[in-house]
Each structure stands twice: as structure tokens, then as C-alpha cells.
Amino acid sequence: MPTDTKRIRGPEVSQSLSRFICKPETTLPSDGTRADGRNRDQVDVRPVFVRCGLVSQAKGSAYIEAGNTKLICCVYGPKETERKDETDMKCGRLFADMRFAPFSCPERGSWIQGSQEKDLSLMVLESLQPAVCLHKYPRSQIDVNVMVLENNGSALAHAITCASLALADAGIEMYDLVLGCSIRQDGASYLIDPTFLEESGSYWASGENQGSLTVSFLPSLNQISGLQSDGEMGEGTLTAGVRTCIEGCYKLYPVIQQALVKAVRGAAPPPSES
């Protein structure tokens, strides 16, 4: 008896086709160019497309596309807080929710938020919190909803960038934009802004320094607002990775700024000189 009767469900147990496909190459090619033409060991982030204000009902919204990773983010609020029992009423509260659409990954996910999504939501929240002037919004809450439409790697990093852009589009007072960047460490070399295949491929391969790292960064304040690493890495590799991610964030910065300026111009066209 399926527990969730509201939606059409397949059989109790089903498996994705990808389990039965024999994978041609499980290890990443160790040198030279990557599958999408970018180079290893270079701060070669995927070109991004960003746009603000797509969702008319939301206070602010943003869409980001990097390769085939596509995300949409909406910001609602500031509105009166739902939880009245909170003792600290001098500050506003930020809520972040990140979800993957069930069809966003190669294997179908569930509509119900899993623990991985909860973990990512927390990471998005902690990355955004230092940038938002929450003391300006007493007794109110701001909701940030991120939906991953298509996941082709580095979803968390782009979610953070997209969410900060949506916050800015909503007119929430912020100290700075938050930019996210991730790398996949593969032995001695790194792959910046990895695709889904690069992210997951040979993760359990033997060898040192296999892991991934996501950093969120406030570029004009020069502060790291969020950091998460996975896998096993030496300290030197890790610090080098953080530096690389920061460099990657700086590459993204002008694009995001430009998108924001464009959105502001669109919302309030300058008075015509007549």
C-alpha cells in the first residue's frame, strides 16, 4: 500500500535504467581537457546566464544557467514571522529551502525533501545569512526557495549565487552579494565548476586527495560565508582549493553585477531627458 496516495506512483521498488548500462569509463581522463572542452587546473568556470525577476508573484526571483545546470530561485518577504515563540525578535529570520525537481538528476528523485536536500538547504541558509542585514527586519521572516530544474553538477554553488541575486532583486538590504563556486579535487589536479559526471565519477577511486569543495564568498567584503568539503583531502590541497574557489567567485562577480544592474534598470527606467 503506497503511503503517498496523492500522486501516481510506480511500483514499490523500481530501478533506474542507468544501473544496467555498463559504464564505458568510470574514471576521469587524467590529463588535458575535460569533456566539455575546458581545461583542468585552470579557473575555467562554465559561462553562466543569469536573469532576475522572472516570477511576477515573488518579491524577487532569479534564474541561473551554467552549462546544463539550471536553477530558479524565489524570495518571498519580508513578512510577519510565523513562529511567534521565538525569543529573539530584534532580528529577522531567514529561511532557505532547496529542492531538486524529481526529474532534475539522472535518477529520479522523490518529491518529499530528503536529508541531502535538507543539508543543502542549511548550507544555502548559512551562506546567505552573513550577507543579509537581518537587523533591519525585526519581527519578520524572509523565505528563500531554490528549485533545481536540471542538475549537471555544482548545484549548491549556483544555488547560493542565484539565491543572493534573488534576495538583491527583492530589494532586501544586504552587505554584499554571495557567490558560490565549487571544485572537484582529483588527485593532484582540480576541476573547477564540475559537471554531474565529474562530480560523481570515480569518487571512490583509490588514491589521495579525492574530494569536492564548495565555497561561498562575499567578494567586496572579502569574507568566506560558507564552506563545505567532502571526501579526503590534505590540508595543503584544501587551502589551495579554497583559494581556487575564491578566484572562481571573482570571475563570476561581474556577470552577476551586470545582471543585477540590468534588472534594476528594467524595473525603474531612468527618466527620459526632455
Binding site: Q15, R19, S115, Q116, K118, D119, L122, M123, E126, Q129, P130, A131, W204, A205, S206, E208, Q210, G211, L213, L218, L221, N222, Q223, I224, S225, G226, L227, Q228, S229, D230, G231, E232, M233, G234, E235, L238, T239, V242, R243, I246
Partner: protein, 291 residues
């Protein structure tokens, strides 16, 4: 998270103390509180440990069950973590209050062990694709006084050290299938290697400096902390920033270095203590929960 309320004056006092490398309880910035470890505290588990760190008390029980390996890793067993924040620790955890913190801690533990070398998962495999050991690592918070991550990771390491899996024999059954035979002798067991199991070190940024093993008071003064899971070899299996603040890249690099140093120094005495306790054997006097 269980928190305490501090007045501004108290915060200033704590901050100034830490600036001068002297904390409220007399420790310096990289000192741990008094730690007590006892293994084999719950008889119904396959491995258990209780760790008290100041007034933080954590109980870990490991139950082994036989299951089917995951399709993606047919020749490996796996670990399942669950952290329960019981209302014993603080009334805030009553009902669903502890759920958020519990999920956060659980997810971090999955991350810490999400690599090939922390636990030799291949040794948990009984027959590839068919049977494997599934270790349920259940963590219970009995008391909260800051620094839950470190306490939990130390307790998990001690409990994994204490875990004894019964030997299993696989033989061909009469009708072609396989037969599983469990050894009758309770002493005929397999131990897990904990040589690469990491310990978590939490560094709290308080003012310009960072402290290890922060109490709740110190945590209330800090805006951001860094969690690092450090293996005895000095590699880092998980790192994340927690808390609502941000960190300067320079101080971040300082903190990772300190974390690695503290983490590596933690493993030696811990392993010595565990093997010392093990050597006492049956005649060891159990302290239990009233110690």
C-alpha cells in the same frame, strides 16, 4: 541548538579572556576540557561507548545487522547514522525540537565517513552483491554543554573500536543456494580497523582568535565556527562552516592549520586510552552512567 543567554558584560568578559589566551574555566585556546571515555557500556549492542566532555555527554551504540549491499557498491557494507537529541539534554529538544539539530549532525556524520579510507567498508562485505554488514550507529545526546561534534566523533571512534562482529561462514546449501552460518563462540569475532577513523575538531571564532572545545557560553560569543574531521594522518575528510557569521580567508587558513594540529594530537592519546582499557579485560570496573 541548545543555547544560553549571555549579557553583554558577560560576553565582553569571555571575549577579553580569550584574547589573552585564558578562558573562563582556566584553559588556553587549544585545550580540551576533561574527557572521560568508557567503552562497552551497553550490553545489548555490538559496540558502544560513552564520552563525557565537560558537561557534554554522548552515548553511542552500534548494532550490526545483515543486509543487502547497495547496488552501486556491491562489495561493500555500509554505515547508517542517526543522532537523537533527547529531551533529557534540554527541554528545547522536546517533541520535534531536536529534529533540526539531529538532522544537521546526522548529515555531517555521513559526510565525514563519505570516503574510502575512514572505515574499511570492504571488510564489512560477507558475500558480494548478496550479504553485507550494516552498522547502525545510533548517537544519543544525554547532556549538552557545547562542542557536540567533537564529543560525538570521539564516541563513534571509541564505539567502532569496541565493535565486535561475529564471524560468518558462507557455504553452499543443499539445493544450490547459499547457507549462512554464524559462529557459536561469542569470542570468535572480527574487529574493525579504526586506524583511519577521523575525529571532528570544532573551532569557534571568538573575537580575533579561535578556540577549541567551546562551552555554551563561549559559543554564544562566537559568530561562526569551523568543523573539521581530521584523520590521524592529518588529512581532512569533511570541513564545513556553521553558524550565521562569515570568516576572513586569512583567519580561515589559520583555523584549518590549528584544527589539523589539534586533531592529530587528539588521536594518539585516544587510541592509547582505548587499548589500555581493552587490556584491562573482564576485570575492569565499570563506571556506567553515574561516574
Amino acid at each position: 541548538m541548545a543555547t544560553v543567554q549571555l549579557s553583554e558584560a558577560e560576553k565582553v568578559y569571555v571575549l577579553h579572556g580569550i584574547r589573552d589566551d585564558l578562558r573562563v574555566d582556566g584553559r588556553s585556546c587549544e585545550d580540551y576540557r576533561h574527557m572521560e571515555i568508557e567503552t562497552d557500556v551497553v550490553s545489548n549492542t555490538d559496540g558502544s561507548a560513552k564520552v563525557t566532555l565537560g558537561h557534554t555527554a554522548v552515548l553511542v551504540g552500534i548494532k550490526a545487522e545483515m543486509g543487502k549491499p547497495r547496488p552501486a557498491q556491491p562489495a561493500e557494507g555500509y554505515l547508517e547514522f542517526f543522532v537523537d537529541c533527547s529531551a533529557n539534554a534540554t527541554p528545547e529538544f522536546e517533541g520535534r525540537g531536536g529534529e533540526e539539530l539531529g538532522t544537521e549532525l546526522t548529515n555531517t556524520l555521513y559526510r565525514v565517513f563519505n570516503n574510502k579510507r575512514s572505515v574499511d567498508l570492504a571488510s564489512l562485505c560477507i558475500s558480494p552483491g548478496e550479504h553485507c554488514w550494516l552498522l547502525y550507529v545510533d548517537v544519543l545526546l544525554l547532556q549538552c554543554d557545547g562542542n557536540l561534534y567533537d564529543g560525538i566523533s570521539i564516541a563513534i571512534k571509541a564505539a567502532l573500536f569496541n565493535t565486535k562482529l561475529p564471524k560468518v561462514l558462507i557455504s553452499e546449501g543443499e539445493e544450490g543456494g547459499t547457507e549462512i552460518e554464524l559462529s557459536d563462540d561469542p569470542y570468535d569475532s572480527v574487529r574493525l580497523s579504526v586506524d583511519n577513523v577521523p575525529c571532528i575538531v570544532t573551532l569557534c571564532k571568538v573575537g580575533p582568535r579561535h578556540v577549541v572545545d567551546a562551552t555554551l557560553q563561549e559559543k554564544a560569543c562566537s559568530v561562526a565556527s569551523l568543523i573539521m574531521a581530521v584523520t590521524p594522518a592529518g588529512t581532512c575528510t569533511c570541513m564545513r562552516k556553521v553558524g550565521g557569521g562569515s570568516l576572513d580567508p586569512e583567519s580561515f587558513f589559520e583555523m584549518t592549520e590549528a584544527g589539523r594540529r589539534v586533531g592529530r594530537a587528539l588521536h594518539g592519546p585516544l587510541m592509547a586510552l582505548l587499548s589500555q582499557e581493552e587490556a584491562l579485560g573482564q576485570k575492569r570496573q565499570k563506571v556506567g552512567f553515574l561516574g
